[in-house]
Symmetry: C2
Subunit: 432 residues, 2 copies
């Protein structure tokens, strides 16, 4: 069902290169629609927001308030099964603990000639968190986006979530409560992104918007970028499993299907040096698909984008893994530590047979918002740093200016920037 590649085949490099560049997303061009919505919300504020919400979500702000009330949040929390609440609390605590270690330290110092230099970190003033509606409304994503923002010290965290016909997944509100979010609006789509970026009568604008969304949300985020910051635009999820022959094929099949069930464009790849395991995993995938609720999605993903790559030696998987630069990489071998330092490009690495990627989705403590579509070659998963910014500080006294000033004047003149040169020289020669 999935594509099979064999490292020993003469055309392997050609087929692997083609496999790497396969597009897994149909990019809908919704830019014009989104542009009109954003302009409307920017100009007409709440009125436009209400009109779009009525039209797209069937929700009337004349009968239901835009902002979710404290009582509703409380009621949703109580309506969420106790086991789910305590799993969310466990996840929240672990995410918080791990992310607290990411808090950057200011670095303020004086160098050998007495110049004061500094890097100072501050939290972003206000952040908007987009939460999708419907089946993609995941409480775990609320935690993964909100907890790092709270750890960073963001004073105001706003959540928007579309409530088709008024309904919001109670577990999402429970997660918001656990994450300490109480400013929640029942809005979604491009109109919600516009409201967060430009503000309306009801919603004060934020400085950055994070969180996943559909094509309209993604296009809206791209369009408001610059006015506000945005996180990366995530593509379909992917996993790469590097496995020796000693694995239980059912475990690996379950891991591959856990990615595949996300989205028809998701991608699950197995690299192994065992042809027997390859066949056994393929068979297990087929078997497990039969009892999977989301079998249609998973089957399509596995058929269209899944791959099993056979290598003569697991060592051969290293350069392949670095080119794939997977969002998630599982190393299911007897000596996973031997691999770790060789992997340069991966969003997250799951080490050993007892670390299924799913643990990282929920309760591992690390973030599940990770770079997709090979972007782990140049970017990182969501962290506390995404909710902060760094200001440089420079301080010279008269003596330091005398020491460094002439070189600055030389370079300014070489670059033809006379006012630059004067701004220094006027201080060096106060008389002239």
């Amino acid at each position: 069902m999935a594509i099979r590649l064999d490292y020993r085949d003469g055309d392997f490099e050609k087929r692997f290169a083609a496999f790497l560049t396969t597009k897994r997303e149909v990019s809908e061009d919704v830019n014009a629609t989104v542009r009109a919505i954003i302009d409307d919300v920017r100009e007409n504020g709440d009125r436009a927001l209400a009109a779009y919400t009525l039209r797209f979500d069937g929700l009337d702000f004349d009968t239901v308030p835009m902002r979710v009330t404290a009582d509703e949040i409380e009621a949703a929390f109580r309506a969420t099964p106790a086991a789910v609440v305590s799993a969310l609390e466990l996840a929240s605590k672990r995410i918080e603990k791990h992310h607290a270690r990411q808090l950057p330290k200011d670095d303020i110092y004086e160098d050998d000639i007495g110049v004061g230099l500094g890097s100072r970190w501050t939290a972003i003033d206000a952040v908007g968190l987009y939460v999708p509606g419907g089946t993609a409304s995941y409480p775990s994503s609320v935690l993964m986006n909100a907890v790092p923002a709270r750890v960073a010290g963001v004073p105001r965290i706003v959540m928007v979530v579309p409530a088709r016909d008024g309904a919001i997944n109670p577990a999402v509100l429970a997660a918001a409560k656990i994450a300490g979010i109480d400013e929640i609006y029942r809005i979604g789509g491009a109109q919600a992104v516009a409201a967060l970026a430009y503000g309306t009568e009801t919603i004060a604008p934020v400085a950055k918007i994070t969180g996943p969304g559909n094509a309209f949300v993604a296009a809206a985020k791209r369009q408001v970028f610059g006015t506000v910051g945005i996180d990366m635009i995530a593509g379909p999820s992917e996993v790469l499993v590097i496995a020796d022959g000693e694995n239980d094929p059912d475990w690996l099949a379950a891991d591959l299907l856990a990615q595949a069930e996300h989205d028809r464009g998701a991608q699950a790849i197995l690299i192994t040096d065992s042809a027997e395991l390859a066949d056994a995993v393929e068979a297990a995938v087929t078997r497990q698909l039969k009892t999977l609720e989301r079998s249609e999605t998973a089957e399509a993903s596995w058929r269209d984008f899944g791959a099993i790559i056979l290598v003569p030696d697991l060592e051969n998987s290293v350069p392949l893994a670095n080119r794939i630069a997977a969002e998630h990489l599982e190393i299911a071998t007897s000596d996973p530590d031997a691999f770790l330092p060789k992997i340069r490009n991966a969003g997250a690495i799951f080490v050993g047979r007892h670390t299924p990627e799913v643990i990282g989705d929920y309760v591992g403590g690390s973030n599940h918002v990770l770079p997709t579509a090979r972007s782990a070659r140049f970017s990182s998963g969501l962290s506390v740093l995404d909710y902060m910014k760094r200001t440089s500080i420079l301080r010279l006294g008269p003596e330091q200016l005398r020491t460094l000033g002439p070189a600055a004047v030389t370079l300014a003149e070489a670059e033809g920037l006379g006012a630059h040169a004067r701004s220094v020289s006027i201080r060096l020669n106060p008389g002239g």
Copy 2:
């Protein structure tokens, strides 16, 4: 000439808010042209690159090689005035020293229940540095982009610079040599960005592209984003000077004009509590403009976007400064330290009367690539981190999986993700 705002005026808030949202850039829509160039280079490689270079730069790769030779770099280095070379060397050393302090530390640890967690940083494999041609071909920018990449440990740094009729500013090649770059191509525009992103027969692709450029370069960077990483798209430069009445108006006028001379869209703002100083600075600007090579540009910038804001008390400047979120902020007061902790939003802060912003452009050691157009509210200047990425590491043994697994299963089921649940439960109940 510049706009004047007085905090005590009844309409101050309205005028200040309007001032904040003034657009200082004409955004040319060059997307279609750029799309065609990128597609052509992607399909036809070197051949397309040569055709565009002949057309736009008047340079024929049949007579001049695309790649700058080692001898040429050497010759340019020798042709650069000794004072410029040593100023560049001083700058490079100071930038390197400061940026080395930004190198992130890996954090690999075991938590209280024995789960292995980690954040591991690696350099990006290959980075392309865009350097503009003509008058905007600044050797200082070469250092500011290349040195952090080298400090990060990027193994391959490629430079592209358009050479109109073959000419490259020798100081730019000297800066490249000082920064240790020897892979330099005589290409520019959208075609150079496309070549870096997708590769050609001559140029291997990179994973990230940084550096300033014109509207075509900016549009091309936006379009290849995703295939490669890009740095922020910088807008026109800006400075905010907060000054008490004890300043030499000529010093401040020189600082304001140093920004204004960059670009007709640059912005220079003075906030002061002294009406006398305000008048004196305005007069000094007028006087200094007369003897400025780039007076036409500086005068247009000061006239169209410059501002002097009078406040009753310098304390009032703090919230204004945080809303302006200037790329560069000078604090020219007798007690600048009192201001520092109150400023949350600024790309870089220059502390005290003897720290003109220009020092930071060249030899301060901090980076001069900073967030413009109020984006310091949510983003930071260029740093070593921009040339690295972080991989999360998670490691559970059977015991940790038994501890955390059930919560993951609960959340997966709550989210309707059956294969996620199975990927954990199958390991918890190997029999069933």
